[in-house]
Amino acid sequence: YLEDVKLQAREQLKAAESRYEAQKRITQVFESEILDLYGRLEKDDLLKKLEEEKTEAAE
């Protein structure tokens, strides 16, 4: 009976672990998405600045 309890506990723990792993993979994907978006935003800002400078130079 004791072995039973131990086995059950191990299984539950394993299930919790794998849920954690799955969730962690999701956050990792999201994280790179965020990095990417920040990158695009910065590029946009940079482009805007360049345009502004160009326009100023042209004036």
Partner: protein, 296 residues
């Protein structure tokens, strides 16, 4: 020096440095060797005796359920706890905290994220309960060295406080009752000049005396809170009023109407006397509630 007075000196000295006797320290060490740890015994110990400061963080971690009772699981559990640093990493990823963010604010943001209460922007003004969190976090940070441990102690200390939320509204009433037992004239006096309802209850009970007592006294009061009694807070408040009875009565004439006045009073009080007030409060609490006041 006679043997007796030497012993007295010794025990007074020991009390000052955080343990009343070598015996107590030894018996705590024995308790900490138990496998699994007997949490009820540890609870009783910290209710009855002052915790030696070298073991405080460890005992708190057990009482707050951060460390498991089985030595065998320690390593794995602490590895799990460490994974919470992912939260810190995530906060960095969304530019919520940076390298220059103060540690206490980092703890606050981590806690907010974990409880699903992260504000939209880090520049939003802090709520009063956030400020209490920061004050508590600051005090705990002074106590616990390891940063992961520290976050966990803060997180778990704040959660029982939230658990006491139901008990909190009853503390002012308990305060009346015990003040009545100790000095009914003072209570009567406060009542007749309607100062009673204006006492800084929130400051005392919600904030657990943070910013009001020096660190050493605070830790001794929190030992009792962590081991399950928020009623100790009532007795500290009673002893403060008793200690400043005369001043409080004088203050009354100028209108004892703000927490500020009591705070100023306490701020200008030498730390030694606040330590003594806390010792008295603990004795008073033992007198009224016994030493097994877990549920109180």
């Amino acid at each position: 020096m006679t043997e007796d007075s030497q012993r007295n000196f010794r025990s007074e000295y020991d009390e000052k440095v955080g343990f009343r006797g070598v015996e107590e320290k030894k018996s705590l060490e024995m308790l900490l060797k138990d496998d699994p740890l007997a949490i009820e015994k540890l609870r009783t110990f910290s209710q009855r005796f002052p915790l030696p400061s070298m073991y405080r963080a460890l005992v708190w971690k057990v009482l707050l359920g951060i460390l498991p009772l089985h030595h065998e699981s320690h390593a794995q559990m602490m590895a799990y706890r460490r994974e919470h640093l992912d939260i810190l990493h995530a906060l960095g990823g969304i530019h919520f905290v940076g390298p220059s963010t103060p540690q206490v604010e980092v703890s606050l943001r981590m806690y907010q994220l974990e409880s699903g209460k992260l504000p939209q922007s880090p520049s939003f003004p802090l709520e009063p309960k956030d400020k209490v969190f920061l004050a508590i976090a600051k005090a705990i940070e002074e106590m616990v060295e390891d940063s992961v441990d520290c976050y966990w102690v803060i997180r778990s200390f704040v959660s029982p406080l939230r658990k006491y939320r139901d008990a909190l509204p009853q503390l002012p009433k308990a305060f009346d009752d015990y003040l009545n037992l100790e000095d009914s004239r003072l209570l009567h006096h406060l009542k007749t000049c309607s100062s009673l309802s204006k006492l800084p209850y929130d400051f005392w009970f919600k904030n657990c005396f943070v910013g009001c007592l020096p660190e050493s006294s605070l830790q001794r009061v929190w030992d009792k809170v962590v081991s399950g009694s928020c009623k100790i807070l009532v007795f500290v408040a009673v002893e403060i009023l008793l200690a400043f009875k005369i001043k409080v009565m004088v203050l009354r004439r100028s209108g004892l109407n703000s927490a500020g006045k009591i705070t100023r009073l306490l701020e200008n009080t030498p730390q030694d006397s606040l330590d003594a007030i806390v010792s008295k409060a603990i004795n008073l609490w033992h007198k009224h509630c016994g030493t097994l006041a877990h549920s109180a």
